[in-house]
Symmetry: none
Subunit: 426 residues, 2 copies
């Protein structure tokens, strides 16, 4: 079974937007056994869209289309689908209700333009889109499936997860590809490769391994293809078990788990609280921690002490310390963490002080130098890092390293890794 | 003159790699007058590549191809080009020399596999690639240009900048497309459309308008096509001037500008400082502000008061206020901003308190309710917002709204918009 993706929008063809939708959809299709033959991007032009549809229809069984479903004049996909499937637009009550609800919730009036979004091609299957006002639309023709989705990434993903993927699994079962990604932190790609080299050599041939590095984190993706889900799952689990034993200090989770969510789980399990005291990360660590739903159970707050005066006044860093050792030093970062614990009455505090760049570097402390400390009930642990030249990446890597240090302190001081027990998720 | 882009590689079709090359090339082609009709991604399969070439050749004058020029077995583009243009591979001395130099510089031996990279299709124009071992290859056929480039982004960019773009400028001078994107904040797409409807109706036909919404921000992209750069620039500027007069309170910048950078510029210009006091945004606003290089000139710090006790202790919010009005209230958010100003000794402070979700909503204050305040030297301004259900988006929208409110306070209180003067960038 083959599939194709058609992404519609001038913004793609003038290079204003990177086509992240296409790669997300391609990945999702592949994982569910649909080989993607072609990805096509065309402009908001009726002729181009019709041509792309016609060509893709000849080649593929499943066609996914995104974009051009919005309310404004340049959104023409719905009209074109009507022409293509020789039907007409009719108002759909349920869609209109959803639009009403959507605007009511926002306390906004419903404009004529938005009401038009309730028009759908007669004969199409309307796919609910609770996250926006444009519904997804499915068409069946000669055994082929066409699905048009909004181009807004999270709306598209919602429709993929709630309609397209279940449809593929129902209609093409047994075409299985399984992926499992092992998340590591605190070690570079090549060092990791050296540690696991023997295990890689002995991997069963059905299992493929890929290294996917991102700032501060290396993901190891294991893929297996076949038709017996149970046998595949068990083979994969066994190999992951072996892999984890090789890298206990670097492994921290699976798949799309976030480090901050894993740390949050540990804190919740231990009944411990945390706060942050941030200089160069400027609130980024607090932002990551509070991005996790329910984080108010263990996160109390943060002092972002960007200016040294704020370090002195709020975090009681003595001025002699700033003068003698500099703001980017073991002494200052440890003091920041200790005082944050006192100030916000938490069990733990994470602190960061560093030089994100592009300015502020010296020969002794170049851009990318970052000190990180974790203060706990008994002691303070601190560590120096040397990241790179790029401000944005330095902030991300410092945040990941800080969360990683907090995780390892929690696990070492407070007992076993919650992921290591029989309740482990792999 | 029209162009097409064909990107080759299994990694694109399984969704492992995001096609950033295509958007970069598309942008570059557009800026040089080549309208991109289609972007096509196909796998490393001879049949698919030949088909994609044939179809694109029918439609476009310039065809750019990337990928599949490497030394390994899955790199088949060169063989396919030979077949397509009915020629054969011959060794190119200059390319071989470049490969020798390349490996010498790295202190590596030259393998047989790499020597094969000196083979080029007879009759093609060999384009130097000093950054890698695979040269670019150009073919001319019936007045059409085909250029095959390596898929490594910086090698592709080098060949684009040193061969493709100069060729376009030489062969199609005066084929110009200009884009300008107007950034707005604080108003939804459909309401914006209603305000500017008359202006849209009277837009000269050469100018195309597109709406590009993202959380809290709507971008309006104006495009113009023609051959007289000066006349086009002046027509576009005139229309943008009219547009801005319709939406003075929502317009905040152009093109790829970030709201936090625009706010930073205003603060720097005014010599004013700022801090934040954040509850539901959890440090996100401070993170955005400090993402801008040089922000330490005007940003002093932040208190993330996630827990009410931190609001009481650090931001001196009286407990009776929290009890009577709740943490998400005008009273509390204004107090947070005022105290943050005092605490961190800044001219301005932005504060946020809201319910990001998924928990914590009530009938009176549902998830998505957010109060934002800006305290300044003279007064405190505050505003209530009702965003949606989704935690992550609520945080982003609250951050954008807070920066937007700060911007409008700065402009209203402190004088003219720095973008509105004769030094304006449009």
């Amino acid at each position: 079974m083959t599939s194709e993706i058609i992404t519609i929008g001038d913004e793609l063809l003038i290079g204003q937007v990177i086509n992240t939708n296409a790669s997300w959809m391609a990945k999702s299709l592949n994982e569910n056994g649909a080989v993607v033959r072609q990805i096509t991007s065309v402009s908001d032009s009726a002729d181009e869209i019709v041509r792309a549809l016609r060509e893709a229809e000849e080649r593929a069984d499943v066609l996914l289309i995104t974009g051009g479903l919005g309310p404004t004049h340049d959104d023409i996909t719905k009209d074109i689908l009507c022409k293509y499937f020789q039907t007409e637009l009719v108002e759909d009550e349920k869609v209109l209700e959803n639009i009403h609800r959507f605007f009511q919730r926002k306390g906004l009036p419903l404009t004529e333009l938005n009401r038009k979004q309730a028009l759908v091609p007669k004969g199409s299957t309307v796919i609910e889109n609770p996250l926006g006002t444009a519904p997804g639309l499915a068409f069946h023709k000669n055994g082929k499936l066409f699905v048009a989705m909004p181009g807004v990434p999270y709306e598209m993903k919602h429709i993929m997860e709630n309609f397209v993927i279940p449809w593929l699994q129902d209609n093409y079962p047994g075409n299985i590809i399984l992926h499992k990604t092992v998340m590591t932190q605190g070690i570079g790609e090549s060092f990791l490769a050296a540690i696991i080299a023997d295990w890689v050599d002995e991997l069963p041939s059905e299992i493929k391994l890929a290294y996917l590095p991102s700032p501060g984190i290396v993901r190891l993706r294991l893929s297996i293809k076949g038709n017996d889900r149970n046998a595949m799952t068990s083979l994969l689990s066994g190999e992951i078990q072996k892999l984890r034993q090789l890298i206990p200090e670097y492994f921290w989770g699976f798949d799309d788990e976030k480090l901050e969510a894993v740390v949050g789980e540990i804190l919740k399990k231990l009944g411990r609280s945390v706060c942050t005291a941030e200089s160069c990360t400027g609130g980024y660590i607090a932002h990551r921690i509070t991005g996790v739903p329910g984080s108010s159970n263990y996160f109390k707050g943060s002092v972002v002490a960007y200016d040294n005066k704020v370090k002195e006044k709020l975090l009681k860093v003595p001025s002699y310390m700033l003068e003698r050792f500099g703001a980017v030093s073991r002494e200052v970062v440890e003091k920041m963490a200790e005082e944050a614990c006192n100030l916000m009455q938490t069990d733990y505090a994470v602190s960061v002080s560093g030089i994100a760049g592009p300015d502020g570097g010296t020969e002794e402390k170049p851009v990318g130098t970052v000190w990180i400390a974790v203060a706990g009930p008994e002691a303070v642990v601190s560590k120096k890092f040397l990241f790179g030249d790029e401000r944005e990446r330095n902030i991300v890597r410092a945040g990941t390293a800080a969360l990683g240090l907090l995780r390892s302190v929690l696990i070492q001081k407070e007992g076993a890794d919650p992921k290591a027990g029989p309740g482990s998720r792999d």
